[in-house]
Amino acid sequence: MGPSGAGKTLLLHTIAGIYVPSRGTVRIGGVDVTVFPPEKRSVALVPQDYALFPHLTVFENISYGLRTRGVGSSEIEERVKRISEELEISHLLHRMPRTLSGGEQQRVALARALVVEPKVILLDEPTAALDPALKTSARSLLRSLHAKHGFTAIHVTHDIVEAIELADRIAFMSGGRILQIGEPMEILYNPKSSEVLKFTGEINLYSAEIVGSKSGCIVLELKPSNLRVMAAPIPQHLDLGETGRVHVVIRPEDIVLSKKPPIQTSARNVYEAVVENLLDRGPIYLVVMDVMGIRLKSYITRGALEDLRIKPGDKVYAYFKASSIRILGVK
């Protein structure tokens, strides 16, 4: 993960063997492959624009890697059939890539990479070229493929949401350097440099557990405390798995503050919070609060700040609508 221009794609190409680094080594499964050509590395690359071979049919695209390995034609048929069914692209096998939609192209590119059963699969911003509506379903497809096939995926993205949703470990890159490597929570809760901090931003991001539902909303418990929040129903395409553990985001501008407790409103979540810090952000202020061990961040105007006379240590009421909670997905 990292901002654009951080060298993420270049790193991916170095791993794939497209670039040979002038210093350093590339190891895959303990083997030093630095000087190996790409075809000897057992890595499969899914570039950002998918790079389907335009002169070959979908079937020929998917089977390309098998044919180069000299797999027998009946086995090719069999394996292409299996992966196509899994990715729901069996009906596309005779088509040419240029006739496919973005989402279809992505699945064909994934099938082409997966069918050779590589040790490592390199995904270069796989959702960047998709419509917003397709992004989420593409992410859950990647998650389920990963769960089933157990390959190592190196997934490049500049989208913090995508990184958190999918990654076991995140490497944060900027200016050609990896600034931090760790589990998503580690990166988010313990950014080791101001670059990382700036990128993770001032969003409210929590790990949470679904504990029930009430009057059309679902009830979440924010971790590590047991703070309960009400959220709008989860979109159907999100597969919640069995744990019910999710990540949620609340934008600071969606959180309203008051000095006195508000009465029951459509802003469903009301909490008593202790102000920890006030940070000047130009025309607005960022108020950092603590709610039962959960850190909550809210933007308020300079005028409101003066009027409410908020200062660190104060007790305030923070509240936000159930619809302000964005559920990112299962972890």
Binding site: I18, E39, P47, H55, R69
Partner: protein, 239 residues
């Protein structure tokens, strides 16, 4: 535009097609056609074998002096045809040291089939290399990288991905260089008057028998060239 078109129409009207038909069957004419087309085909094949890999390298790799290499390849485009003839003779005739080695390999240049081929390769090389290079440049390198990660070696990648995707430019380049080879006469007059190519026969007949005979000889050649030209237009239109 009319200036170019009028001669074609006038030639069509003014040609004695009966004479053309008879002439094409004459042995000396047939042999000139065969010489021309075999030499043009041989030179094009040599160029394709050497030029297509070179074009690929020029399209894909960056190296010091690349633009100098590209310039040298394009030089024959601007050299006057008679000068090309002199250049070939000076460098490769059997009296020179290089020519000596060549003639030991059976590649004699003066008044020989191989002299014709040498001239043709020299004049048509830029056309083939430039066209094929543009073709390879239009192939997204990422497609090649992906093929490589899928297990294809560099040669397999070239033959299954790069070449099939650039085929239109390759065919266009081959036709252009073949047509350029057939067109040449100035350099051939110097390097290899014999075996007679069709262009030389036209000039000879024009000088000995006059316009009527020379005219009739040009028609089949012109038809072939215009058909090839139509192929190029068709290919470039579809691309």
């Amino acid at each position: 535009m009319l200036f170019i078109l009028i001669p074609l129409i006038v030639l069509h009207i003014a040609t004695n097609y009966f004479l053309t038909y008879k002439l094409v069957q004459a042995e000396i004419v047939l042999r000139a056609f065969i010489t021309t087309f075999t030499a043009a085909s041989a030179s094009t094949i040599i160029l394709a074998i050497l030029g297509i890999p070179l074009s690929y390298i020029l399209a894909r790799r960056e190296f010091r002096g690349k633009s100098i290499v590209e310039s040298i390849i394009d030089i024959p485009l601007v050299i006057p045809h008679a000068v090309v003839g002199i250049l070939i003779l000076v460098a490769y005739s059997s009296r020179t040291s290089i020519g000596n080695i060549l003639s030991n390999l059976g590649l004699i240049v003066e008044d020989n089939f191989w002299g014709i081929v040498f001239v043709m390769v020299y004049v048509s090389a830029p056309l083939l290399v430039d066209s094929v290079k543009d073709g390879f440049k239009s192939v997204d390198p990422m497609l090649e990288y992906v093929a490589r990660t899928l297990g294809a070696g560099p040669y397999r990648t070239f033959f299954t991905i790069s070449l099939p995707m650039a085929w239109r430019s390759v065919v266009t380049g081959i036709i252009l260089s073949w047509a350029r080879a057939v067109s040449e006469v100035g350099a051939l007059l110097i390097v290899a008057y014999y075996p007679k190519t069709i262009n030389i026969l036209i000039i000879e007949w024009f000088n000995t028998f006059g316009l009527e005979y020379a005219k009739s000889l040009t028609v089949p050649l012109l038809v072939i060239c215009i058909v090839l030209f139509a192929c190029i237009r068709y290919l470039s239109r579809r691309a």
